[in-house]
Symmetry: C2
Subunit: 203 residues, 2 copies
């Protein structure tokens, strides 16, 4: 069995869980709770960055971060499933993934501003910088939502997890201002049962 | 001509510049200075995250982040050059890249603590969290430096840029405490002329 270090709040873990279901690989994984802030957590022996998701393969070697794990899952499933082989489609999917992961990174930094700092220690210029990345990413995606047909690719999976994270941590305020993304999100949720099965929680 | 939005201080840009030289693609790029904090910079039209490196292809479509651009460069060069095709070697290289990029991300957040905050606004628990990622990454790499023979892969390129960034921003203090990495770094620099040609500066 492979081991997936996870946390129920992580949108990056959610990407992996969705891919595992889409690719029919669920039986090959054991989920292991990880506390990224606990120096004694065995996660740290597997990933010096102490991040989830981290995947430990059957041969004992670890893989991270989430794009690398997703490529490995795609490889296990035969390749070309959630990462297209054809170059134009492949790079479009990888770029969309990078855009959504980058927006998720900015979301995480916004949360850390609350988690790690007193109100006096928060800095508007930093908050605005991160919020601007998210706003521009969502507006760009609203202008041209990605296609959604057949097997979702890593970019589409990342977008669904980004929007789900906005729901989870930021009260879904993106919905009113981004109606086309809202429709896209509903269509993704209807097409991918694993999405509803992985709604984030604080754990 | 493709356009590469860049900044001379960015270690992520440095990865791209090294790969461009290694792959013999230098003649196909025009470098364009970018100010990631300037709302009027054309970079923002190409990448909503306003990050460098961002590559604009000849057909006008943009690619990011650095791992995606590196895969595209590898593709342009025929494939299998800086990202091995054989699965075990490929995932080892991608994991090493993720580890070094993750340590670079932590380095960047440490710098931002200085750039964006007064001393009173800095938080030791946050600084320690980022510093711990870097320390554990370097110690893990010191225990088993990667192989270095033939064409460098994306993981090795990322490691060299991580160590170079420690020199640039943190005064090279890693050298004394990580002698095997120091030797690895010197061997990389000797083997890859593009490394010395891309020493970071504040611009």
């Amino acid at each position: 069995m492979m081991i997936l270090y996870w946390h129920p709040a992580s949108p990056y873990v959610r990407k992996i869980r969705i891919a595992v279901q889409l690719l029919g690989l669920a039986g090959r994984f054991e989920m292991r709770d990880a506390d990224v802030n606990d120096p004694g957590d065995p996660l740290r022996q597997q990933n010096p960055l102490s991040k989830v998701p981290t995947l430990v393969r059957e041969n004992g070697s670890a893989l991270y971060d989430s794009p690398v794990i997703l490529e490995y899952l795609d490889h296990l499933a035969g390749g070309g499933c959630i990462i297209p082989r054809e170059p134009e489609a492949r790079f479009a999917a990888l770029r969309l993934q990078a855009l959504c992961d980058g927006a998720l990174d900015a979301n995480y930094l916004l949360m850390c501003e609350d988690w790690y700092r007193t109100p006096e220690q928060r800095v508007a210029r930093w908050v605005d910088k991160q919020a601007g990345k998210i706003e521009r990413a969502l507006d760009t995606l609203e202008a041209a939502p990605p296609d959604l047909s057949g097997m979702p690719n890593v970019g589409q999976i990342a977008l669904a997890c980004l929007l789900g994270y906005r729901d989870f941590r930021f009260d879904g305020t993106w919905r009113e201002t981004h109606p086309r993304l809202h429709a896209w999100y509903d269509a993704f949720a209807a097409a991918v049962p694993a999405f509803a099965a992985t709604i984030p929680s604080s754990g």
